[in-house]
């Protein structure tokens, strides 16, 4: 029916979001292209998470327009996915959580089972498939969340501080999985306030400050030669970011 054109690029035109009389995202215009991993950096309260939720369609902008190259229609399989800081698992087995997501995406029967098994395999959780998802450790739950998102073969994967509540070992594992998802052709958009992680995973940096995109640059240049005072201060650790 429909030509399998990409949903990217994503265009934001003067997008603002206000809640409770406070402007959280302030007239942001940008284009997200397929390819480079985009890291959204910024201090706490800069509006990173809200910007990502606006892009993913979980929040509606107060003003401005958000347009995907191929519009999403309700009831149709989503071609984007999101992994949250704290994974939300249903009270059922690990594999049933992945199968649930695949079911919503319209994958049925034996094929659903097969894809769910493959997704668990790829994040190294195959041996825990039948374990109840909620009793897994934090790191395992986040890997399960990544498997659930990856199983949907999204064109874009949004990640909201996916390692913020994990120990270093679990964080490294999550970073490895994110890299594998990118290698398989998914556009990565991730927000973090972890500079090391941004350096390791980022191709380009979107620096947010007080709801505005203050700077956008290739990662290498952003970290060596930040163009704005705010970004410079942030890299130097002069802005609060924990």
């Amino acid at each position: 029916m429909r030509a399998p054109t990409s949903i990217l690029p994503l265009r934001l035109d003067e997008v603002s979001f206000a809640a409770g009389g406070r402007t959280i995202v302030d007239r942001v215009s940008l284009v997200l292209e397929a390819g480079p991993r985009t890291i959204i950096l910024g201090p706490n309260g800069a509006g990173k998470s809200v910007l990502m939720r606006l892009c993913h369609g979980l929040l509606a902008p107060t003003s401005g327009r958000i347009e995907w190259a191929a519009a999403e229609r309700p009831g149709e399989r989503r071609r984007q996915a999101m992994v949250f800081q704290r994974p939300v698992m249903l009270r059922r087995s690990a594999i049933a959580n992945v199968e649930y997501a695949l079911g919503l995406a319209g994958v049925a029967g034996r094929e659903r089972e097969r894809q769910a098994e493959a997704a668990l395999e790829s994040v190294g959780l195959a041996h825990l498939a039948d374990r109840s998802a909620r009793v897994l450790s934090g790191g395992e739950q986040q890997r399960l969340a990544l498997a659930r998102a990856w199983a949907l073969r999204p064109e874009v994967l949004f990640l909201d501080e996916p390692t913020a509540s994990l120990d270093p070992g679990a964080s490294a594992e999550v970073e490895r999985i994110i890299e594998a998802i990118r290698a398989a052709g998914t556009k990565i958009v991730m927000c973090t306030h972890n500079l090391g992680q941004a350096r390791r995973l980022g191709d380009e940096i979107l620096f947010l400050h007080q709801g505005r995109v203050v700077e956008r640059a290739p990662a290498a240049r952003f970290f060596t030669l930040p163009a704005t005072a705010e970004a410079g201060a942030f890299i130097q650790g002069e802005l609060p970011w924990t």
């Binding site: 993913h56 949250f84 939300v88 249903l90 649930y100 997501a101 919503l104 009793v135």
Partner: protein, 234 residues
């Protein structure tokens, strides 16, 4: 004190000997209250879940009213159902007044708001936790509500039990619409009220002991089940 002890002894003999009259009353009680619980649950679960998940004008007011209805006095419900079913009432032609069916109707109305309000609260809490994830995965409102209800099914058991406890323990509604007719509409609570006023303490006490034991046993079973589920599913 002696009369009480005597009565307790007689009550014990009635229960132990499975006195036919006592068994009949207990059986009818269970039939009426369990039917009411099944009916009310079938209506209240979807209703409570819908109110929790849907966005509509006046939602706050509906929630306040629903919560207030939890305290509906049984005699008032009895009176309303009586007016509906009495010969001159709109449903009088069905001839349901003073039948177990009328009692089921009254108890269903009485406990529906309890189960619905508790369901609404539980689903609301779960919705807060799950909503972004479910919407991110592309779940529509209806399918999200179903997922939630299934995911918290063991918590909802508590809501259903609260409804059963209320139905089994109330006197006012069944007394008015049932009439406490011996062998037809006499249930545990109405029998206790009657036998106590007649001075037949053994039967009243025996029924009282059974009623309390029943409610205790059911709650213990539900608690055990919920604990087991918690350990299994987290």
């Amino acid at each position: 004190m002696e009369t009480i002890l005597d009565a307790l002894g007689d009550a014990g003999r009635l229960v132990a000997g499975l006195d036919p009259k006592l068994v009949e009353i207990v059986a009818l009680s269970l039939r009426v209250s369990l039917s009411a619980v099944v009916l009310a649950t079938a209506l209240a679960l979807p209703l409570g879940a819908a109110i929790a998940v849907a966005k509509f004008r006046g939602r706050q007011a509906v929630i306040v009213i629903l919560n207030a209805l939890m305290g509906l006095p049984p005699v008032v419900v009895g009176l309303l159902v009586y007016l509906l079913l009495s010969r001159a009432g709109p449903l009088g032609a069905m001839g349901l007044l003073f039948t177990p069916t009328a009692m089921v109707i009254a108890q269903t109305i009485l406990i529906l708001p309890i189960i619905a309000a508790l369901t609404r609260q539980a689903v609301d809490d779960a919705w807060r936790e799950y909503q972004e994830q479910l919407r991110s995965l592309g779940a529509g409102e209806g399918s999200a509500a179903l997922t939630l209800v299934w995911d918290i099914r063991f918590s909802l058991l508590t809501a259903v039990l609260a409804g059963f406890g209320r139905a089994a323990a109330e006197v006012g509604a069944v007394m008015i619409v049932g009439g406490n007719i011996d062998g037809v509409t006499r249930v545990m609570t109405t029998a206790i009220a009657l036998e106590t006023s007649k001075g037949d303490l053994p039967l009243a006490l025996g029924l009282g002991v059974i009623l309390v034991t029943l409610v205790l046993a059911l709650n213990a079973a539900a608690y055990t089940l919920k604990e087991a589920a918690q350990r299994r599913y987290g």
